[in-house]
């Protein structure tokens, strides 16, 4: 179990660094920006206690906010996403039982399951974050395009990463 914690801590650090040093400098079209770091919340194991889920999401948002100078925005979006995660998991496959030891990734639960699971959560995160950042409804539609565009961008990166680091089960 200890090595399991270690893996997630490393993943946390790598994703935050990747986000702030590389992805935040990608300016596709001038306003689309992928927020790939949410992959950390997606990949936490099913057995994670709920309080740990929320606290690690808080810490994740806090570290990204610190470097982006947008104190609070990523925190709010990440905590919301982590709060809704158990409900989304139940919603996506209500009949199927999740066997212990399985991880939420393409390898263990298949492509369709992973896509619907991560698409819903990534959309929730992006939606919350972009609207909190703009903080007014007068630019509703343009913000919505940014949400959709960035969601697609993030999803492409998440799926790519799933196949890039694919290791068959021993």
């Amino acid at each position: 179990m200890n090595s399991g914690y270690f893996k997630h801590i490393i993943r946390f650090i790598v994703l935050v660094l990747f986000q702030i040093l590389i992805l935040n400098n990608i300016k596709l079209n001038g306003y689309l920006n992928p927020y790939f770091y949410v992959l950390f919340i997606l990949l936490l194991p099913f057995e994670t206690p709920r309080w740990l889920l929320l606290l690690s999401a808080f810490l994740l948002g806090f570290s990204v906010d610190m470097f982006e100078n947008t104190m609070g925005i990523n925190i709010a979006a990440c905590v919301l996403m982590a709060y809704l995660r158990p409900y989304v998991i139940r919603f996506v496959a209500s009949k199927q039982d999740y066997e212990p030891g399985l991880e939420p990734c393409i390898r263990d639960l298949g492509f369709t399951w992973f896509i619907s699971y991560s698409l819903i959560l990534v959309f929730i995160h992006h939606f919350a974050m972009f609207y909190i950042e703009v903080f007014r409804f007068s630019e509703f539609l343009t913000t919505f395009y940014r949400v959709l565009g960035s969601t697609v961008f993030t999803m492409v990166l998440i799926i790519m990463s799933q196949y890039l680091f694919y290791r068959p089960r021993k």
């Binding site: 300016k27 306003y31 920006n33 606290l55 104190m71 609070g72 950042e133 630019e139 913000t143």
Partner: protein, 276 residues
């Protein structure tokens, strides 16, 4: 009491969620009203030093272009020095130096981090209180305006870019001195809007927009951009003018921080006359 306690315990997931979101909201609100957020100030030094390591590396990729811009600017400055002028009239010697009192001083600074893709963008510069930088100073580049200093720590300062929803800059049309306000509506980092120009003013495409100097912050005559397009909405008394920034904010690497030496005097006089 016990019932309340067991209720809280049963729904701890929801209440923890609520608690964390409240913390986030407090942080967002503090940040949105630009009160100096304690957290950001404390972390500026730390994040600044991490980012400066990164920008030390990336700066090398832009060295060639930066050198070109610097040498262009040098050539302009050389043209302005005393040596470049031939004295045609001896009477110029009679002008007393005290007639020209210096109002603005400039500090050169490098950019550590920059963003253009958000609705509210910020820059971080490698100069701070130790270099004489203070809050509310203007930041300009050789080709145009950049922003206003928001927070300063010992060695770093963060700047509200003109690409920000609260950036309102007093501007004027160079050829006829009509005053308007420049705002940025998001999405495209190359275009901004100039408001409050009445419809009887004659405009042409390509008219130059410069700062008006009415704001204590920006000196007069700093380039903002050129008119790209203008329309009159039905029933409006003012133009909607689209302008193209003269500076490309995506490729900034060096800027100047402007210090208005007479700012306090101006503000003092202004508040005195408002009080009456």
């Amino acid at each position: 009491m016990r019932n309340l306690f067991s209720f809280l315990l049963k729904n701890y997931f929801f209440f923890l969620f609520l608690f964390l979101e409240i913390i986030a909201t407090v942080l967002i609100v503090n940040n949105n009203y630009f009160q100096r957020s304690v957290v950001i100030n404390a972390t500026n030094e730390f994040t600044g030093s991490v980012k400066s390591i990164f920008s030390n590396v990336t700066e090398y990729f832009f060295l060639k272009q930066t050198n070109k811009i610097l040498s262009e600017e040098n050539s302009i400055l050389h043209a302005l020095t005393e040596k470049s002028y031939i004295i045609t009239d001896r009477s110029t010697y009679l002008i007393d130096d005290t007639v020209y009192k210096q109002q603005y001083t400039y500090v050169g600074a490098g950019i550590i981090s920059n963003s253009i893709h958000k609705r509210n963008n910020y820059l971080m510069l490698n100069k701070g209180v130790a270099d004489g930088v203070n809050k509310d100073m203007a930041v300009i580049s050789p080709k145009g305006i950049v922003g206003i200093i928001r927070d300063v720590s010992k060695n770093f300062s963060s700047v509200i870019s003109v690409l920000h929803k609260d950036a309102k800059i007093s501007a004027k049309i160079k050829k006829n001195n009509y005053i308007g306000t420049m705002i940025w509506k998001g999405i495209d980092y190359r275009t901004a809007y100039l408001m409050d120009i009445p419809t009887h003013v004659k405009l042409t495409m390509g008219d130059t927009i410069i700062t008006s100097g009415f704001s204590h912050i920006f000196p007069e005559g700093i380039m903002i951009g050129v008119i790209n397009n203008y329309t009159i909405l039905q029933g409006e008394n003012f133009y909607t003018i689209k302008l193209k920034f003269s500076e490309d904010y995506n490729s900034l690497s060096y800027v100047y921080i402007v210090n208005n030496l007479m700012k306090n005097e101006q503000i003092k006089l202004e508040t005195e006359s408002q009080d009456e």
